[in-house]
Subunit: 344 residues, 4 copies
Amino acid sequence: MIIVLNRDATQQDIDHIITKVKEVGLEPHVSVGVEKTIIGVVGDDDKMINVPVESFKGVEQVIRVTKPYKLASRDFHPHNTIIDIGTVRIGSEELAIMAGPCSVETREQITLIAKEVKKYGANVLRGGAFKPRTSPYSFQGLGKEGLELLKYAKEQTGLPIVTEVLDPRDVELVESYADILQIGTRNAQNFPLLKEVGRTRKPVLLKRGLAMRVDEWLLSAEYIMSGGNYNVILCERGIRTFETATRNTLDINIIPVLKERTHLPVVIDPSHATGKAKYVPSMALAAVAAGADGLIIEVHNDPENAWSDGDQSITPEQFRDLMIKIREIAQIVGRKIPEPSSVA
Amino acid sequence: MIIVLNRDATQQDIDHIITKVKEVGLEPHVSVGVEKTIIGVVGDDDKMINVPVESFKGVEQVIRVTKPYKLASRDFHPHNTIIDIGTVRIGSEELAIMAGPCSVETREQITLIAKEVKKYGANVLRGGAFKPRTSPYSFQGLGKEGLELLKYAKEQTGLPIVTEVLDPRDVELVESYADILQIGTRNAQNFPLLKEVGRTRKPVLLKRGLAMRVDEWLLSAEYIMSGGNYNVILCERGIRTFETATRNTLDINIIPVLKERTHLPVVIDPSHATGKAKYVPSMALAAVAAGADGLIIEVHNDPENAWSDGDQSITPEQFRDLMIKIREIAQIVGRKIPEPSSVA
Amino acid sequence: MIIVLNRDATQQDIDHIITKVKEVGLEPHVSVGVEKTIIGVVGDDDKMINVPVESFKGVEQVIRVTKPYKLASRDFHPHNTIIDIGTVRIGSEELAIMAGPCSVETREQITLIAKEVKKYGANVLRGGAFKPRTSPYSFQGLGKEGLELLKYAKEQTGLPIVTEVLDPRDVELVESYADILQIGTRNAQNFPLLKEVGRTRKPVLLKRGLAMRVDEWLLSAEYIMSGGNYNVILCERGIRTFETATRNTLDINIIPVLKERTHLPVVIDPSHATGKAKYVPSMALAAVAAGADGLIIEVHNDPENAWSDGDQSITPEQFRDLMIKIREIAQIVGRKIPEPSSVA
Amino acid sequence: MIIVLNRDATQQDIDHIITKVKEVGLEPHVSVGVEKTIIGVVGDDDKMINVPVESFKGVEQVIRVTKPYKLASRDFHPHNTIIDIGTVRIGSEELAIMAGPCSVETREQITLIAKEVKKYGANVLRGGAFKPRTSPYSFQGLGKEGLELLKYAKEQTGLPIVTEVLDPRDVELVESYADILQIGTRNAQNFPLLKEVGRTRKPVLLKRGLAMRVDEWLLSAEYIMSGGNYNVILCERGIRTFETATRNTLDINIIPVLKERTHLPVVIDPSHATGKAKYVPSMALAAVAAGADGLIIEVHNDPENAWSDGDQSITPEQFRDLMIKIREIAQIVGRKIPEPSSVA
């Protein structure tokens, strides 16, 4: 930690800070510069976590040097984490392709879509049973019935399931159906929920909050990991900026940044990011080219009649065409995706 | 709702949209312009809520005209809502002045601060027992013990309590102690939690999410109100922007915007907005001048040793000086605050 | 400057950095911590301005400690700058109240408005002759004819003039009419223009760019000051954020931040910030309460027929009512405004 | 244009608006809905450009339906614009690969880099002679001498030159050397400069402003085109958001949005967007995958000693490796780049 003093700081102020730093067992080094005096604190910044240094007299600025997360940091875990969910090892050479409808609607709908996306190479089925909706008057998901329908589709296709959990009280229920628990963007700092999924051992797909800086996101991952669940997958799904031409701004830049700071796999959601089906394919390709470990894409057989997010869902045919190009780009950047298959 | 068609839209596309609009019981009006064809949908936009018009062929843009919230809207409830919590009628001529520490620490601390802030005119005591912290390694609050200490401070001073609830499973517990339930910025779209506090009849202080547009915020209020709890207080506490000189950017502009769109009271939190004690007084005065119905301010008797947020807490002496000016500005804008008092 | 090394930095990397730092005449101090090695560079950071330390092998992060501006910094000039323009000393106890139409339209219009705003206490007349418009098809201002009309209005009322200059080739012309040269938000980093106004000795009202951090803004002030023109007034006029309910978000927080970092006066423009006349009064009061040194407000006698920005212009009557409250709030925060007067 | 009235609008207010709309020669259509009354204005919205409808009594909201730009719009010019600069037809199947140093430094430096980048497939040489720098104390470019050096490098390699012009007074000079005139992000709404380059017939590379929405950007293109210069290339170079891990956030989403709204070619600058050399390759690949018409990349033979932007410059060797992958991805999305060549 670096403590920068302001021009009015007195020797008494400096001595006071030195005392405080020593109290938590750290070593202060004072450098008196021409313009500014600086106190460097050597050792583990975390010991200072509950010391409000910025409120101390004479302090102008406080700069953390070490990262506030440990378990999520590549500094402490240099090798990529690979999460094996049967059909795919997420974070490995093979990309995770998660596809399916926004909401589970009917047995026919989810089964049909599951078969279609599997045919073209998807290795995980997405589908919402509990839906976080901005308006209380929008369709809120089928709940437990939706989970049952997902289970049926899984039995028919062999595809593992990623589905969202919204409420800490539902974690046990959702965990009993899901292969990956999804934490949505609005719950990215819902700490009771993060702690609850941290108590399970199910992989967690942690979406980035709409206005979350990368270190805050990794601290949310740390919440899950500090509960003992190390199987965290980070999912970028668009951040909120001033631009309104797309619903959100997909932050593809964050892929190499995350690859540098953390060992956790990174999945990209071009559907929620852009909010418009027509923009999904180009963003999916960009994400793979930039080094993503996977994609999560909304696919619906009848977007016009989808119960939610029809605007951003692509059709199975569009998904098929997209997968052809994803496969080719994956190869160029040293990755691969499953071969297309057929479901009996 | 206004549906703008793109230049390639065919008569067939138009007919299809007309059919869809009529299916939900609304009336379409087609205007063929020189450049664009527009379909106006007259009636209640909410009937269209689950129709993904943007995914229809030929559609360029869809514009909602009516507000998506009803109970929170001034259109449907022209008169200001006033919430009576005994010491103050929030939304009335008298300002709500909520003050106290970030976290409840000890019986001595909370009682001392409660007496001090009451002495200078506060009419509500704030204090956190359940704390949402960005890092899992930060102090997480005293929990139930904190609630007990708040209760004690309330008995000593008569001040009603506002305190945060994080977890739907804690609502019943917190409700039994609190006079106002606080929903924090990170839970502003935690819908299970919003529904849960909507089932109580306790006033709810709903903080704005870091990247929430005003209509999304009012939809979160609508979640609470649609459960039957109409006692919602909106609290602006800084939004996330590109500027890093302050922790967040207090959006004072939103005060007159809210006053226009909703009948709910508006309270401003200058402490979390700026993140620095030295900026709190000027922002508190600005908020009152702009027409806020109240303030929520962090006050700590010993900021350097506060267990959380010491950087942004002002001292009781600073609070006293600030209240003198708040009182004067309140009068100019037709408001008032309680006279300073002493606690036996 | 603080140089933080990454975990893979070798002794050779460290030696290389030390050599580079010494080459520019500065003194490096190496601290080897448990997690990170840090090199503190003592002395004037500016000597490092053209050394791309972040590109050096082994470097994770580079943190500047001293401010990159000198002439604009309060560190080097602790006392408030006061700019005397005859009717008012900007930055003094008396507030600068700049008022007038967005665009100068006709002799009658500008003279009428000038007399009205003077009557209610304005001490500077604003009015645009050269207009920066987002669309090439919008009215672009009367140019030199507009300057002549401003001159006439000044003769009639005694009010000094603030008016915008867009083009370095027009500086000499505009300077010959204006008492204060305005640099607009879109030109806040138009460096040739900043240098050109830096060569004059006329006070400059420097608006903040739409996405400018405070230190970038002060560097733009530094451009002007390094040319020898120390008479810079900073004008906050709304920043661009995700919120679209107001045209921009007036960043009132920046007032105390600027007061801390610089000695230059700070003026607030609530008209461009909100873009809507109805929100102007509450934001004007908030700005004064927060410690602004002045306001610049668009006033038009007939907003419906204004040639530009009618949406955000208040009427002389609204200005009159607003000034009554501004006067009262000014007193509470230790400021004053001129008494209302009449123009012969 | 759609005019939405508020709940208090009277018949008199409606009549007044109807009169105003008819005055500019347009046809109003009034729809009285259950909640809101709406007035649709059929015809050319541009006729309303100087009518401040939002200031009219009874008006709640005004929504433009037609785009405010014409010449830049795909509605009016459905086919892609292709700009032929000799070595490459920008906007065609072949990608424009612009590469070179941030600043021109010496004859040896610019010639060496030009030869290197040409060897690996670049078809345009970039290099700054006039540099916009945030600080007045940073290196400001060699000016005319830099242009001479660029000319020499062009003679040696045959590569056309893209270089920035900052000042309307320099347009004639820069035009006499450059093959493409670059307008920087800070000048994206410098209207006198846009008009000046609009008077030339040289292609213009127009960078997006830091906080510019897409329609504002296209209006800046319209400024240039309305002067008669239709050769505008749009360049995305990162927008300002809350995220600070990268210098800016490269908005790759804007590629498909631009392709839909305009016929002008789109080039991506990953160097300024990320600000860090290590992130450049993945962003370059993402841009090509997403459908960009070209790239502009900073390459320097000795980044540590670059006179500006060394942090974000890649070396010729890194450029060579990157070009191999760019070539492969280009093919997948139906594009190509020049074969590597050698310079005598």
